[in-house]
């Protein structure tokens, strides 16, 4: 690669700018090969399999009642969990950035627990807590409320795994919001509440939206922490990733592929939306992730 660039005459368009640093061909070549082998080719295999069904066959498999039911369960519960996470995640980010209190650093570190704790471990732990005889479940059992083995359990598990996405997206932005604009707002006569709602929140909005989308995307795809607590009743508490797993166990590869393709299209749309939000945020506020 570098040989091509150095011997070629100067042109208006070139793939890369010249540099004295060696290793471009080697590292980019390795990166692209490794990416293709591990990620791209397997994903293409998935796309080819579902394209093989033809539009009609695909539509028929994708609109199967149980498939639609599982997608509905996944998306409704993920929306609810992401909503809860945005409210409490924003509050937690605010408290961790703005206030000083004993144990702050420990709580700040423990926010990342859902990233580090294996999902199966989280799943059985949450089930133990929210089962009718568990620490929290026992409080709700006399009221006739069941959390574990119902969709409420799914939402709880999704809240657990989604929380760090919201907090960690908002935290750095909140640290960057300059005190000067708050001071300016205060000198112009705004009270604290107005400053927060009219000055601080608008600049946090892209981060909050990004955090919401990340938590939502993670919750929709989540499997390990949910299946133990969900109850897994078709049409009620059966999530889409579980249905993929069940279809694979039945050697129904076509069924599994179709659900996976639908989910992938939705997550890539979400990823695209996240990128748009961040590009917009960079233009509008000059920062973003």
């Amino acid at each position: 690669m570098s040989a091509v660039v150095s011997t070629a005459p100067r042109r208006a368009w070139s793939f890369r700018q010249p540099s004295v640093i060696p290793g471009f061909g080697l590292t980019l070549g390795f990166t692209l090969t490794y990416f293709s082998l591990i990620i791209l080719i397997p994903l293409i295999a998935l796309a080819v399999r579902s394209a093989g069904l033809g539009p009609e066959g695909f539509w028929k498999a994708a609109t199967d009642a149980r498939v639609l039911g599982s997608l509905r369960v996944s998306f409704v519960t993920a929306l609810m969990a992401a909503g809860v996470n945005v409210v409490f995640g924003t509050l937690i980010a605010w408290v961790l950035v703005r206030y000083r209190f004993p144990g702050r650093r420990i709580f700040d570190a423990i926010i990342d627990l859902p990233f580090a704790l294996p999902t199966a471990v989280a799943g059985i732990a949450l089930t133990a807590i929210y089962a009718p005889n568990g620490t929290v479940g026992v409080l709700f059992a006399p009221l006739g409320w069941r959390i574990a083995y119902t969709p409420a359990g799914i939402v709880i598990a999704m809240i657990f795994i989604g929380l760090p996405f919201v907090v960690r997206t908002i935290q750095p932005i909140l640290e960057e919001v300059s005190h000067e604009v708050e001071e300016a707002s205060a000198t112009l006569g705004a009270n604290r509440f107005q400053t927060i709602t009219h000055v601080i929140f608008p600049s946090l909005m892209p981060a909050i939206l990004t955090g919401f989308a990340l938590a939502f995307a993670r919750a929709v795809g989540e499997y390990g922490s949910i299946i133990f607590i969900a109850g897994n009743i078709p049409f009620v508490s059966e999530i889409a990733p579980l249905l993929i797993y069940i279809r694979l166990q039945e050697y129904n590869y076509v069924g599994a592929t179709v659900i996976a393709t639908v989910m992938l299209m939705i997550s890539f749309a979400l990823l695209f939306a996240i990128n748009l939000i961040q590009a917009w945020s960079r233009r509008r506020y000059g920062y973003g992730n």
């Binding site: 793939f15 590292t27 980019l28 998935l46 704790l117 708050e182 795809g221 499997y223 797993y245």
Partner: protein, 289 residues
């Protein structure tokens, strides 16, 4: 002087902060939420693990299948993590040290596995190597089993941990620029010398940080591995899968005993990660963690 100033701020609240009572209320809500959502599950794992006493705990860990699961998990991580480290170094070298077309797109692609559901990450390899595929039977002809064997588990693990090292190193190396490397090259060092003696010392803490996160996920991955492993007891069950099997067999205390090892791994990861952030914050990255 200092005490006088503090006395003043005590008397009059700064216009850019909230009343102390509001602060305390918000801290209270945030801490209570984190305690219930994050701390309680962690506590539950250890509580349940020792629910039948210390002897039962160690007996469960000493079990033949549990030992095999621990060995398999360590083996899988020992293969998958180094491969992703090599990829992370190559990708960040190509991306951070050179300017070329399509770079932003490549960075987005590297994060792609994060938006794929773990179950789908396993499914793509089932489609690629399973019955009815082209590659599976062909490899079988040479006596190579991918699915329901070690290679499949390793591949699925690499897929889900793919971005960890790269996304830690890319922003860090972009921040550091190419000045140090250019200086080394101009003083007569060759490419490898520059890489080992200049670049690696510059990025070592960020690299360690990425390895920590990558390793935690590699050892704890459940969904993707569950799909490709076939769950053959004592042979293809990793620790998280063994936890699931024991739990589904109503052997909860043994499941939690094994789970507590994974929880311990998560805690050690968090402690080391926080230590790195506090000690070497500047050298880790302007990243988003």
């Amino acid at each position: 002087m200092a005490t006088k100033l503090r006395a003043q701020t005590k008397r009059r609240r700064s216009p850019t902060s909230e009343r102390r009572s509001v602060q305390l209320l918000m801290i209270g809500i945030a801490v209570a939420f984190m305690a219930v959502v994050l701390v309680l599950p962690l506590y539950a794992v250890f509580h349940e693990a020792f629910s039948k006493g210390v002897w039962a705990f160690f007996a469960a860990l000493g079990e033949k299948d549990a030992q095999a699961a621990i060995r398999l998990t360590l083996l899988v991580a020992a293969i998958a993590v180094p491969l992703n480290v090599v990829f992370g170094l190559a990708a960040s070298w190509a991306i951070a040290k050179f300017e070329f077309k399509g770079k932003a797109f490549l960075i987005t692609l590297i994060d792609l596995p994060f938006s794929v559901s773990p179950v789908i990450s396993g499914l793509v390899y089932v489609l690629l190597f399973g019955a009815g595929s082209f590659l599976g039977p062909w490899l079988k002809g040479y006596g190579i089993e991918v699915l329901f064997a070690l290679p499949g588990i390793v591949l699925a693990t690499i897929f889900v941990t793919f971005p960890f090292v790269a996304r830690e190193l890319i922003p860090l190396m972009q921040d550091q620029g190419t000045g140090d490397e250019e200086a080394a090259l101009s003083l007569g060092a060759n490419g490898w010398q520059t890489f080992w003696r200049v670049t690696i010392p510059n990025i070592k803490w960020g690299l360690l940080y990425g390895v920590l996160l990558c390793n935690a996920r590699a050892m704890g991955e459940f969904g993707a591995v569950a799909v490709v492993s076939g769950k053959i007891r004592g042979q293809t069950t990793t620790m998280p899968l063994q936890v699931e099997m024991l739990y589904n067999e109503y052997n909860a205390s043994a499941a939690f005993a094994l789970a507590s090892l994974l929880a311990l791994l998560a805690l050690v990861t968090l402690v080391l990660k926080s230590a790195l952030e506090w000690r070497f914050g500047e050298e880790i990255a302007a990243g988003d963690h």
